[in-house]
Symmetry: C2
Subunit: 188 residues, 2 copies
């Protein structure tokens, strides 16, 4: 007799618990190194290639083809709208991370979700990044995230799921707290 | 007689200086509000739509069509590789921002670039985000960025351009320093 697979919110909860057990038994499997390579195209336009990463004790080979994602700027910021701009990609990364963390937490807590949608705003004053006034920082002064969450659970339980996701989201932490970034350049 | 347009590295430097003059004269034009909306698809997979933003004193209308960008996870992280994962999008945002800032700074300093490429690594221990061990943070412990920069200038000047870009990059600041993130959820 085989154990039936339990899929909730599109997440295989047996796989999730199996992975957690494996991490408890072999903590060295928890190390992940994600990677991206980027190449300047022209003006504000560049292209990032994403494929392999290190995780769970080995080099991942699940992606047959690399992902390619562009970034650029709108005309007011000297580009030609070839793609969203980098600050908008920060909002995308945050939305995607909070959303999948909400979905995973709900699955673990046996809550079936029917809708997760969000709107995000990032506010900045360009006097910072342009170097016109050091009283302003370069990046976002603040980010506002508004979720709409619907599911088969009381409102209080759905709110708890959002709180837990916020407390465990990889990208929420990266944006809310400092990450050391080392930049090295080979020039010539 | 018209003034000739000066394009360097694909950047219209006359436009850049015109914008800086306008910001000096009317600092309220410097306020930008970028936006993204996201919708959960299934499992770890979600889709972000990016189109309008507020900037330079008005709602931008330069994008006829919205950009759509997906995020998900590889199988080891419970997804199906529908798209890069949110942590990889953080690396993409950082690469795109540092690169276009390098290009803009070089244009302003009259340096013609011939190559800007980069490789990025973000390291994390999944014992944090999984809640297995609070000694580990959820997000990246550190990010390493390696640039290759080629252009028509001495090595020292190219290094200075990278340093200036690091000091002025919107996304470098967002990741290196804390950004307040307010998360609100309407549930039901």
């Amino acid at each position: 007799m085989t154990t039936p697979t339990l899929i909730r919110n599109g997440v295989d909860t047996e796989q999730v618990y199996g992975t957690l057990d494996a991490l408890k038994a072999q903590p060295e499997l928890a190390r992940f190194v994600f990677r991206a390579t980027n190449r300047w195209m022209d003006g504000t336009h560049s292209r990032t290639t994403i494929q392999g990463f290190w995780g769970a004790g080995q080099e991942d080979s699940s992606r047959d083809e690399p992902f390619e994602v562009d970034a650029s700027e709108p005309p007011i910021l000297f580009g030609h709208n070839e793609a969203p701009n980098p600050a908008e990609f920060v909002l995308h990364a945050l939305a995607g991370c909070l959303t999948l963390t909400i979905v995973n937490v709900a699955a673990a807590r046996k809550v079936t979700l029917t809708e997760v949608s969000s709107t995000l705003e990032g506010v900045l004053d360009a006097r910072g990044a342009t170097g016109l006034d050091d009283a302003y920082r370069n990046g976002f002064e603040r980010i506002n995230v508004g979720f709409t969450l619907k599911g088969e659970a009381p409102a209080e339980k759905l709110q708890e799921i959002v709180e837990r996701a916020k407390a465990r989201s990889v990208v929420f932490d990266i944006i809310s707290n400092p990450v050391p970034v080392d930049v090295y350049a080979e020039v010539g």
